[in-house]
Every structure is written in structure tokens, then in C-alpha cells.
């Protein structure tokens, strides 16, 4: 029995950044369309069972109905039977349960925030991450069919996973010696004094940014660093940068359609597992992967650490290339007959 899991966040793609930037709305019907194509791609390449996180829009059942109606559903879709909270807890609980079920791969639909939630719960199951969020560095725009095929290749367990799966970095945040939270891409120190609508966009309030990776093509706060220094997911270091103090101005795409000048110092390279102490200068919040999460008072000490403890992540293109080189698609086609 070859199985995969799908976590489609019903809340992604609808936050305040549609108002304060030019971000696109991704409605749940579009997510359903993508999930349908994932299922069709995966079942064609040997997946027998797909487990889905339940949600208030019943995306799993809608996908099942739709594919049954056109008589194209060949595998089994199981919507996980679990209590719903309509919040991040659902993603955490579903991820843990999918791992417990032993799925070969989890496909996520959401933004950086969604994947951060998955990363908090996942241990060893590799992820394929499709962007349906706002500022998307961790997940990428990808055709669902291709994602489903890649998930099937991974779940088949026929290949040396080291060829197309790598472990990502993450930012770990400690308070009083205790790990309190993580980020996959960036952690931002902001002078916003409450969580509010969560998203963060006002550059004037940003004091400091920590990143695991950075690139000018990465929309969001990591691009500020990325416009000065490119750090790849493979590099065994991250970095931090101070803003709005002194230095030179730089332009960076901090949100969809927003490319603003920002006063920055030079980046500070943070080696893997090196601890970096930060003491808050005033009241504020720490935004993790674009969402305000931690409210802090003045003079609070935190430790930031870049580690390689992030999720296992599938290189979709490479996985399909390895499958092709090894004649997998031919084998699958012949075994169908």
C-alpha cells in the first residue's frame, strides 16, 4: 500500500496583505482544483491511498465527489477523522497523524506560515510544498499533477532518497534556555506591539531580520538580505541584518508589488548551531515567516540559532529525473496492464 498525505490550509491566501500590498486571493475552490490534480497525478504513478487533513470547507470530500462524478478516482481518499479547531492546531495535529499513519510523503498547500506549522510537527516524512499563500519562499508555484507524480515517486521508496531529498535549515528561538518557536525562512524583530492581523508589512517598524536563506527573488523580508547577499538552502549558514539604523539604502521586494528602499547595515553571517543573543530594546513582536507570533517586553533576552533541524524537503524536478533515468514511468505503465 503506497500512501501520501495532503495538507491544504483553508485559511491561506486571504490575510491583510491583500489590503496593504497587491497580493492575490487564492480561494478554496482553486485549492480543490490543485488537490484534484495532485490526486490524479499520484494515483497514476502508483499511489493507492491519499490521506487529507479535514477542514471547514470540506475540501477532501469535495475532491472525492468531484473525481467520483467524472469517474476518475481510482485510489482511496481518506479524510482524517479528527477534531477541528479552525486554526494552526489542525495543521499540527494532521501532520502528526499523517506521520503516525506512515505516509511516504506529505504535500502541503499554503504559504510560509502553513509550512512553518507543518515543520513544527513533522519529523521524518519528506514534504512537497505548493504555494497558495502570500509571501512564499518555502513553497513554490507548481502544477498539482507534477507534485502528485513526485509524491508518488518518493512514496514508492524505490530510489535512494538522498538524491532528491535534503534537510532544510530553520531558525530556533530560545527564551530562558527553552525552545519557544521556529521559523523556516525569516524571523523579524518589529516594533508592532501586538499580534493583531498577524501579517507584517511596515518596514519603518522593522529593527532586525534573521534568515535561513535569502535571495532577491524571494518575496518577503528575507529579500532585504537577499538583495545584499544570496544564501542558498544548501549553505551551512544563515544571517541577520539590522535595519533603519545606519548604512546604505537598498531596494527589496518585501511584499507582492511592494519594492521599497530600506536603510540597512551589512549582513552578519550566522554559522549553523551558533547562538546569537538578542536583547529587546522596546516592546514589540517577533514575526515568524511573515506572521507576528511572539509579543515581547523591553529588555527580554532571546537566543536565535540557525540549525539544520528543519523538515526533509523534496526536490520535485530531481525526483522526477531520477525516476525517469531508472525507467520508473515505463515500469508503472506496464504494471497497469
Amino acid at each position: 500500500m503506497t500512501s501520501i498525505g495532503i495538507i491544504a490550509n483553508p485559511a491561506s491566501g486571504k490575510d491583510i496583505r491583500r489590503l496593504v500590498s497587491h497580493a492575490t486571493v487564492i480561494d478554496n475552490n482553486e485549492k480543490i482544483n490543485i488537490v484534484e490534480r495532485i490526486v490524479l497525478g499520484a494515483q497514476a504513478i502508483g499511489v493507492d491511498r491519499v490521506y487529507m487533513m479535514p477542514d471547514s470547507y470540506n475540501m477532501g470530500y469535495r475532491v472525492t465527489d468531484s473525481l467520483n462524478t467524472c469517474d476518475e478516482l481510482k485510489c482511496e481518499i481518506n479524510v482524517i477523522n479528527m477534531m477541528l479547531f479552525d486554526g494552526m492546531e489542525d495543521t499540527l495535529n494532521a501532520t502528526e497523524y499523517l506521520e503516525h499513519l506512515g505516509v511516504g510523503c506529505i504535500v502541503t498547500l499554503g504559504g510560509d506560515g502553513t509550512n512553518r506549522a507543518v515543520a513544527k510537527a513533522v519529523k521524518n516524512v519528506p514534504l512537497i510544498t505548493i504555494s497558495t499563500g502570500t509571501n512564499n519562499v518555502y513553497p513554490v508555484m507548481m502544477e498539482g499533477t507534477v507534485a502528485g507524480m513526485a509524491a508518488a515517486v518518493v512514496a514508492s521508496n524505490r530510489f535512494n532518497n538522498n538524491l532528491f531529498i535534503s534537510r532544510d535549515k530553520r531558525i530556533e528561538i530560545y527564551k530562558d534556555g527553552v525552545l519557544i518557536d521556529i521559523a523556516l525562512i525569516d524571523a523579524v524583530i518589529s516594533k508592532d506591539v501586538f499580534v493583531g492581523s498577524k501579517a507584517i508589512w511596515d518596514m519603518d517598524k522593522i529593527e532586525k531580520i534573521f534568515v535561513t536563506r535569502s535571495h532577491p527573488a524571494s518575496i518577503g523580508f528575507s529579500s532585504v538580505l537577499g538583495c545584499k547577499k544570496i544564501i542558498s538552502p544548501q549553505d551551512d549558514f544563515g544571517a541577520s541584518i539590522n535595519l533603519n539604523v545606519k548604512g546604505k539604502k537598498i531596494k527589496a521586494p518585501i511584499a507582492a508589488g511592494v519594492v521599497n528602499p530600506i536603510l540597512t547595515e551589512e549582513p552578519f553571517i550566522m554559522k549553523l548551531d551558533e547562538e546569537y543573543e538578542y536583547v529587546t530594546k522596546s516592546k514589540g513582536t517577533i514575526a515568524l515567516d511573515g506572521e507576528r507570533e511572539i509579543v515581547f517586553p523591553k529588555d527580554q533576552k532571546y537566543i536565535f540559532k540557525i540549525t539544520r533541524n528543519g523538515p526533509y524537503h523534496v526536490d520535485v524536478i530531481k525526483s522526477l529525473e531520477i525516476a525517469q533515468i531508472n525507467g520508473f514511468f515505463q515500469d508503472i505503465a506496464n504494471s497497469d496492464e
Binding site: L19, V193, V295
Partner: protein, 328 residues
């Protein structure tokens, strides 16, 4: 968004006024002192408070049948409101309108409304008037989830977008249209997605988070003032009471109310105040006692106000047309 501690305290005071006004209305209705119907706003206080705190006195709001919270948040007078609920002659409508017709033009309150979905086009009218007069005012249009199935919602959003009107549509999605769950009356979960059909921004926020509401509406109001057009903001919230007082709420699943009561917007603000030294518990208690007094005063005002005379039934039926075509 910059927000001072004084502004935060004002918002908290408004939430307390709404909660205590509504609890009093609930009690007085049960005692038979309030005629007609009342639709209570308990549980949704953060929506009206956060939104109206982003407005100026000269800005407008349109309200609904569940309108007490909106009116209080826009500066409505508790005494006149309570007298109106009691059907007394010192009420906002001289005791002849009741809960669902309270208006105060001087404060930009264009009226509660007994017709579901009737506020959208009143808001469009005020938006058009603002544009015609070339001022930088804004109108916030409050409405519920079920009214977004009415044609007025779609007509309103369409015209607001076509004419780039300064209207902020604030949908208080409390999960039910009277007794029908949103799951049964709509094939979507997030009403904000309807904005894309009218080419305007649409966002969904936690309607029980005062800060989230204030921040989102504040941004939308700023956008509207700059002439950038309308916005749809969906606030996910919940009414603790039934659709009307007397509704037994048998349509609610077990545990749903209790789950939402844990998200009560008022203690969330109190927790923030204490953790961030905005107010102490003693100051919070003192403010609560002050609001209790205000409500008691409003009760006395309503009780002591005379009932409308029989003759007054024929007054205020038609407007007097005065010179220059203006209506008085």
C-alpha cells in the same frame, strides 16, 4: 498602525458599554419591559469597536437589525438608546421605532435596519454623496453573513467598485442566518473571496480580536480616504445569544457556544492590558463599575421617560418639504 494606550482604553470602554448594555437589554426584555424584538450583539463587540475606532466623527456607518453595538461604538447615546428600546418618548425615534431603527445623523449613524441587506445600498448612497461633495469621509457598512446572499450585497459591491466609492464593507460572519448555519446557506466558507468578483481587496480576519479588526479596518479606511476605493473585510465571530431574544438556539451543535465563549474578545484585551502594563486589574474593575453606573443611569432615564402620546402616532410620518427642494 500606531495606537496609544489612551485609544486602547477608549476601545475597551466601548466594548464594556456594549456588553453591559446588551446584558441589560436581555434582562429587561425577559422582564417584559422592552416591547418588540431585540437582537443582541454579545460576543461580537470587537467588530464594531475595532472598526468604529478607525473612523472620525464625520464618517458614516450603516447598521443592521443587530445594531446596538455599532451605534454605541460610533458614539450613540446610551440614554436615548435605552429609552428607544423601552418605547419611550425620549428615545432616538421618540419611542416609535424600537431597537431596529435607531439613527443619529449628527454622529454619522445612518441607521440600524430591520431589513436584512438593506444597509449596503444606503452605504453606497453615502459613498456617492461623499465623492460628489469631494470630502475625505468614509462609510463603514456593517452586515452579516446571510445578507451576502442578497442582491443588495452584490449590487452594492459592484457599484462601489465601479465608482471607486469610499466604503468599507465589514461582514460580521457569526456563522448563522437566523437559524441556518452558513454551511447550509453558502457554498463557501470565506465570504471575503466574493470581493474578487468585484475587483476589490477582500480579507478574512479574527473578528474576536480587537487589534486585528482595528488594524484591518484602519488600513481599509486609509485606502478609501485616498480615493483607492472599497474593501471587503470578513470578521469571523459569533453571537452568544440566539438570533432574537427568545430563540432557543436548538440549531446549534453542542459545545459550539462554549468553544466561542473561550474566544471572548473582552478578556483577550484585559489580558493584553495587564501583561503590557496598560491597566491594572484594579483599574479594570473600576472601569467596569463606572460602566455599570452608566447603564443604571440609562435604565433610570428610560423608565422615567414618558410613553409617546397617542397623538404622536401621526407625527413624523411624512417629511416637510421646504424651500430649495431640501427635506427637513
Amino acid at each position: 498602525m500606531k495606537i496609544t494606550n489612551e485609544q486602547l482604553k477608549d476601545m475597551y470602554l466601548t466594548m464594556l458599554k456594549i456588553r453591559k448594555f446588551e446584558k441589560n437589554a436581555m434582562d429587561k426584555f425577559a422582564e417584559g419591559k422592552i416591547p418588540g424584538f431585540v437582537h443582541l450583539y454579545i460576543g461580537e463587540e470587537a467588530c464594531a469597536t475595532g472598526a468604529c475606532a478607525a473612523l472620525r466623527v464625520d464618517d458614516y456607518i450603516t447598521s443592521t437589525h443587530r445594531g446596538h453595538g455599532h451605534i454605541i461604538a460610533k458614539g450613540g447615546d446610551l440614554n436615548y438608546m435605552m429609552a428607544e428600546l423601552f418605547g419611550k418618548s425620549d428615545g432616538y425615534c421618540k419611542g416609535k421605532g424600537g431597537s431596529m431603527h435607531i439613527a443619529d445623523a449628527d454622529k454619522g449613524i445612518l441607521g440600524a435596519n430591520g431589513i436584512v441587506g438593506a444597509g449596503h445600498n444606503i452605504a453606497i448612497g453615502s459613498g456617492l454623496a461623499i465623492k460628489y461633495r469631494k470630502t475625505d469621509q468614509v462609510c463603514v457598512c456593517f452586515f452579516g453573513d446571510a445578507s451576502t446572499n442578497q442582491s443588495t450585497f452584490h449590487e452594492g459591491l459592484n457599484l462601489a467598485s465601479v465608482w471607486k466609492l469610499p466604503v468599507v464593507f465589514v461582514c460580521e460572519n457569526n456563522g448563522y442566518g437566523i437559524s441556518v448555519s452558513q454551511k447550509r446557506h453558502q457554498a463557501i466558507t470565506d465570504i471575503s473571496v466574493r470581493a474578487s468578483a468585484y475587483n476589490m481587496p477582500g480579507i478574512t480576519i479574527d473578528g474576536n480580536d480587537l487589534f486585528a479588526v482595528h488594524e484591518a479596518v484602519g488600513e481599509a479606511v486609509e485606502r478609501a480616504r485616498k480615493g483607492q476605493g472599497p474593501t471587503l473585510i470578513e470578521c469571523k465571530t459569533y453571537r452568544w445569544r440566539g438570533h432574537f431574544e427568545g430563540d432557543m438556539t436548538v440549531y446549534r451543535p453542542d459545545g459550539e457556544l462554549e468553544a466561542w465563549m473561550k474566544k471572548d474578545p473582552i478578556p483577550r484585551v484585559e489580558k493584553y492590558f495587564i501583561e503590557n502594563n496598560v491597566m491594572t486589574q484594579d483599574e479594570i474593575n473600576k472601569l467596569n463599575a463606572e460602566v455599570d453606573k452608566m447603564i443604571e443611569e440609562a435604565n433610570k432615564f428610560a423608565v422615567n421617560s414618558p410613553a409617546p402620546s397617542l397623538e404622536s402616532a401621526l407625527e413624523d410620518v411624512y417629511s416637510d418639504i421646504v424651500e430649495e427642494g431640501r427635506v427637513r
